[in-house]
């Protein structure tokens, strides 16, 4: 990677900056719905980075599952818990401690990344885009047991969510 900055890298850094600024917005926004909207921007940045990494399938799955379903669920929850009517402190008492811990974690992670010597892959073979069929083959042959477990997990989660959210018999 000594040939200087390419257009892909520029796009990557733009997306990364958008993603990180929105992420900071998520954790610091004073308005609870703004946090959710920042979250969408952050997700879009992540999807863009997936595109740069040439995994279109994951990028689209990200948009489909996170972009619409998860975000809508979260906005629902915010409205059901009356986000707007009750202004209140959004941060706990342990805020300084939390910030310090997060910074420590960041330092440790970046230290670890910098200290490791990463082998540069052979650029001709490693960057070949992965086809949809290859992903499908991997999921349904090599990883079929986790796939089935995820399916069971999803149905249990569906049942559990319905159980939790349905009103009690004696509610009214």
């Amino acid at each position: 990677m000594e040939e200087g900055v390419t257009a892909t890298q520029v796009v990557f850094w733009i997306l990364a900056v958008v993603m990180l600024i929105s992420a900071i917005g998520v954790v610091t926004a004073g308005n609870i719905v703004y946090a959710a909207l920042f979250f969408i921007a952050s997700l879009a940045g992540v999807a863009g980075i997936y595109l740069i990494l040439t995994v279109e399938f994951i990028a689209l799955v990200q948009l489909l599952i996170y972009g619409s379903a998860v975000v809508i669920l979260i906005l629902f929850a915010l409205m059901l818990t009356r986000a707007r009517e009750r202004p209140q402190a959004l941060f706990g008492r342990s805020r300084p401690l939390g910030i310090a811990a997060a910074l420590g974690l960041l330092a440790a992670l970046i230290g670890g990344i910098v200290a490791t010597t990463w082998t540069t892959p052979e650029s001709s073979t490693a960057f070949e885009p992965v086809g949809l069929q290859a992903i499908g083959d991997a999921i349904f042959t090599l990883w079929i047991v986790p796939f089935i477990i995820v399916g069971v997990l999803l149905s249990i989660a569906l049942d559990g969510a319905i159980m939790l959210a349905s009103p009690d018999e004696d509610d009214n």
Binding site: T8, Q9, F12, W13, M19, L20, I24, V26, V27, I32, A35, F39, V46, I49, Y50, I52, L53, V55, F57, I58, V61, Y66, V70, L73, I74, A77, L80, T81, F91, G92, R93, L97, G98, A101, A102, L105, L106, L109, I110, I113, T120, E122, T125, A126, F127, E128, V130, I135, A138, L142, P146, V150, L153, L154, A157, L158, G160, A161, L164, A165
Partner: protein
């Protein structure tokens, strides 16, 4: 494509931001959002390792893992939001530090 280290550093920053949100917020929904940020950082890492060929099982594995992480995150959101809504209905609060009935 950007060097692997750059992607890893960006993901580490995203992960740390998510961790900060989990540690500082008191609203359960916002904590959930921060957890989602951390999960996103992890799945980005998985994909980055896969694309750069650092996985023993071949390039696909990391991508499949990212796929599983996204799917499980969806299940987790559904359940966690069910719990939050239920808590709000019972105790009229979505703040985790006010749900302290079992704490002493």
């Amino acid at each position: 494509m950007p060097p692997l280290e750059h992607i890893l550093v960006v993901n580490a920053v995203l992960f740390a931001i998510g961790a900060m949100g989990v540690l500082t917020r008191r609203n359960a929904v916002l904590i959930l959002l921060s957890v989602e940020l951390m999960l996103n950082a992890v799945s980005l890492n998985m994909v980055a390792f896969a694309v750069y060929g650092h996985v023993d099982f071949g390039n696909i594995t990391g991508i499949v893992f990212a796929f599983f992480i996204i799917v499980i995150a969806a299940a987790e959101v559904a359940l966690a939001l069910g719990i939050v809504v239920r808590t709000f209905r019972n105790r009229a609060t979505a703040n985790v530090d006010e749900v302290n009935l079992l704490k002493w």
